[in-house]
């Protein structure tokens, strides 16, 4: 077995066997499940107590209001405000809603009053406001003798459907952008996370060798470059193992989800537009949302995206892991002291992520995004995001070529720093000094 493969094997096996790795790998999907359950639970949660509200309808506009979203409306039934107040103090009601007469129909704003010593939760306030707004609208329609059906025809839901000028261009629907954002965002996030996590793992591993004082023993057996590369490859393999395990486990968890959460299929249908009315307009629109998203997903060039993702992942990983290795070699035993050296590496990663989060989301093809998707320190995170929006092929090709070239360059550069730093003890190193090492013979 070659020395490099021996090193990779050791790095891989010692890491994969660690309890923290096994626990992390197994627990992350469980954590994800718990997270989903909690989110699901929170969205379903509404303060269970029913709010009893006496409705004093001074203008006679609302009549009986149906109970809605935890609010029970009780008509005043001829009682005066004073009588209602006394009743509320005795606990019959939680509060009193006084709706003054509208007076002028021109009025666009109208204030209703809520009497209570208890604070009205924003959730309940919204429910009451919505309810009263609807009722007053109905009252106005009724009073003005308008035809509700005619009025309904005034409402049109507008959505832009992008169509290509040229015949060859692929047709896009209004879902394209959303689906692209989701795919691109997920890819950018995975990149960011993996590069940070496994890059730092390489750094710690390099530091560990220095603090254990085994470096010189190793150096008398293997070339420093082999040791560094072995670490980068080993940790990368650990990262891939973890991701694959997560994908498999998350798949299993997702399959289990419907059994754990009681999702009402009818409720899901509600949010979808009625297919019947849309059919006449555009056959593309004549599908349910779910189908359309599926349709968009299938339109993406998956083999290209997956292939490019892997190359960008490897490129980004090699660039950053080798920088982390170089910095790790320069650091002493004190991790805290080395933080200043780590910062120049983490800044570009975070910056790339911010560019995606704040610029890319609004306009994936803006000038800054095109630049960031070419620049090798950013492109591993930015380009996969843009990939979901079918950028010009030459941009993808150029970006790939640049990231591969940069990966080789950074590994080479890190090797030059590493071989000097790794044998240095008991010295606090500055960035300026490290940059000098690159030119040592």
């Amino acid at each position: 077995m070659s020395k490099l493969s021996l090193i990779v094997k050791r790095e891989y096996i010692t890491r994969v066997r660690k309890k923290s790795f096994i626990i992390g790998t197994l627990l992350a999907p469980v954590g994800l499940l718990v997270y989903f359950l909690v989110i699901f639970g929170l969205t379903k949660y509404s303060s269970g107590d029913e709010l009893k509200v006496a409705v004093l309808d001074e203008g006679g506009m609302v009549q009986q209001l149906p109970d809605d979203r935890g609010v029970r409306y009780i008509p005043a039934g001829g009682k005066t405000l004073e009588q209602l107040r006394t009743a509320a103090e005795e606990g019959t009601y939680d509060g009193i809603l006084r709706i003054p007469a509208l007076g002028n129909f021109q009025k666009k704003e109208h204030t209703v009053f809520y009497y209570s010593d208890k604070k009205l939760a924003p959730e309940k306030r919204d429910a009451i406001e919505d309810r009263i707004t609807d009722k007053i609208r109905d009252f106005k329609i009724d009073s003005l003798k308008l035809d509700p059906k005619t009025l309904d025809m005034l409402n049109t839901d507008i959505a832009i459907d992008p169509e290509k000028l040229t015949e060859a261009g692929e047709d896009e629907s209004r879902y394209t952008a959303g689906v692209g954002l989701a795919i691109g965002g997920i890819m950018a996030f995975i990149m960011f996370f993996m590069v940070m996590m496994y890059g730092q793992m390489v750094m710690r591993s390099v530091m560990e060798e220095k603090t254990n004082r085994i470096v010189e023993v190793m150096m008398s057996s293997v070339r420093p470059f082999d040791l560094m590369l072995g670490k980068i490859l080993g940790a990368g393999a650990v990262g891939l193992t973890q991701v694959v395990a997560w994908i498999v486990l998350s798949g299993a968890v997702t399959m289990l989800m419907p059994f754990l959460i009681d999702i009402d299929p009818a409720a899901m249908q509600q949010s979808m537009p009625d297919p019947g009315t849309a059919a006449a307009i555009d056959p593309e629109e004549a599908q349910s949302t779910g189908l359309r998203i599926m349709n968009e997903l299938s339109k993406q060039n998956w083999p290209l995206i997956a292939g490019a993702f892997i190359i960008f992942f490897l490129g980004g990983y090699f660039i950053y892991a080798s920088m982390f290795a170089a910095i790790g070699s320069a650091m002493g035993d004190d991790y805290g002291e080395g933080q200043a050296l780590v910062l120049p590496i983490t800044i570009p990663i975070i910056l790339a992520f911010y560019i995606v989060a704040f610029v890319g989301v609004r306009n994936p093809d803006s000038g800054l995004m095109v630049f960031a998707s070419m620049f090798p320190l950013f492109s591993p995170i930015v380009m996969p995001f843009r990939m979901a929006f079918s950028p010009p092929w030459w941009q993808v090709a150029l970006s790939l070529a640049l990231v591969i070239a940069a990966a080789f360059f950074f590994v080479w550069l890190a090797g030059r720093i590493y071989r000097v730093g790794i044998l240095l003890y008991g010295k606090k190193v500055t960035l300026k000094e490290i940059s000098k090492w690159m030119f040592y013979q």
Binding site: L6, I214, V217, M219, S220, S221, R223, L423
Partner: protein, 301 residues
């Protein structure tokens, strides 16, 4: 010749760590590499072990110019030494042995041989961090010699060892040497040099300041000092004829002129009728030679 270092120079930034050093290490010898801290010993060793390369000069190991596989013939125990703390003894030794070019089977065989020899076969599955410092040093020693190197380089091998383990390792070094392994022994503890080495080089400020066979260096640096111990006090006249270095009631240390001989002194004493209980030449200790040479060369700078 197992090792030949020829006119080697190593520069770091502006200062020269090793400045035109040449040494030859005979096959089967124990060679002492001496020098004060920061003299350039470690820089020289790092070049021999191919950790770094010389800026000038050439190093030959076992008749060949140093190359990629040269480290497999060398066993190196650096002063800054350690092991992977989380690894088990067995797998750690297997790993290090394989990195030195042994196959897994060969490595296993050698490791078992040494664990048996040190009566620690039950340590195979113990983690390094669970071992005491002394125990770790034993493992470190095995890791250094497991691939049966032709040249063994030990940098301060006994630091951190208790007397029992020191003797144990010393014995092993001696046995390896008898079996034909050449040894370079880097230290600044001079009593060990006299005890173990047959050749030495003394390096100061990167330069070779003293080089040769231990016995001939001692002879070269002797100052013709003789200590005489007598039963009766020496007569008054004796002192006036000789250069007395030190005198007590029953003993005296005399420096003889270079052209004189100890027999003449003895004859003189016998004629004086003194009863001699002891007569010996005082050879300089390596400590003295070391300090003298270092001070002399410091003046050159």
């Amino acid at each position: 010749m197992i090792l030949s270092v020829q006119n080697v120079v190593k520069r770091y930034d502006k200062y020269t760590a090793v400045d035109h050093v040449s040494i030859d290490v005979q096959r089967g010898s124990v060679f002492g590499l001496l020098g004060p801290n920061g003299a350039g010993k470690t820089s020289l060793i790092r070049m021999i072990t191919t950790i770094t390369g010389p800026d000038e000069g050439t190093i030959y190991l076992d008749g060949e110019k140093l190359h990629d596989r040269s480290p497999e013939k060398i066993g190196y125990m650096p002063e800054e030494r350690g092991l992977y703390k989380k690894m088990k003894v067995g797998e750690q030794l297997l790993y290090l042995a394989q990195l030195k070019g042994l196959s897994e089977a060969q490595a296993r065989k050698q490791i078992n041989h040494w664990l048996t020899k040190f009566e620690i076969t039950d340590w195979w599955d113990k983690k390094i961090e669970d071992l005491s410092k002394g125990m770790q040093q034993k493992i470190q020693f095995i890791a250094t010699i497991v691939h049966q190197p032709k040249l063994l380089i030990l940098d301060e091998p006994f630091t951190g060892l208790d007397p029992i383990n020191t003797n144990l390792i010393k014995d092993e070094i001696r046995q390896l040497n008898e079996a034909g392994t050449s040894i370079i022994f880097s230290t600044h503890r001079m009593e060990q040099v006299e005890e173990m080495c047959d050749h030495i080089v003394l390096i100061n400020h990167g330069k070779n300041v003293l080089y040769g066979e231990v016995q001939s260096i001692k002879n070269e640096y002797k100052q013709n000092l003789f200590r005489i111990q007598t039963e009766t006090p020496l007569p008054e006249g004796f002192a006036s004829n000789h250069t007395i270095v030190e005198q007590n009631s029953h003993s005296v240390t005399v420096r003889l002129p270079d052209d004189s001989h100890s027999n003449r002194l003895l004859q003189e004493l016998l004629q004086l009728g003194v009863r001699i209980t002891r007569f010996e030449e005082i050879l300089p200790t390596f400590n003295e030679i070391f300090i003298r040479r270092v001070e002399e060369t410091a003046g050159d700078q």
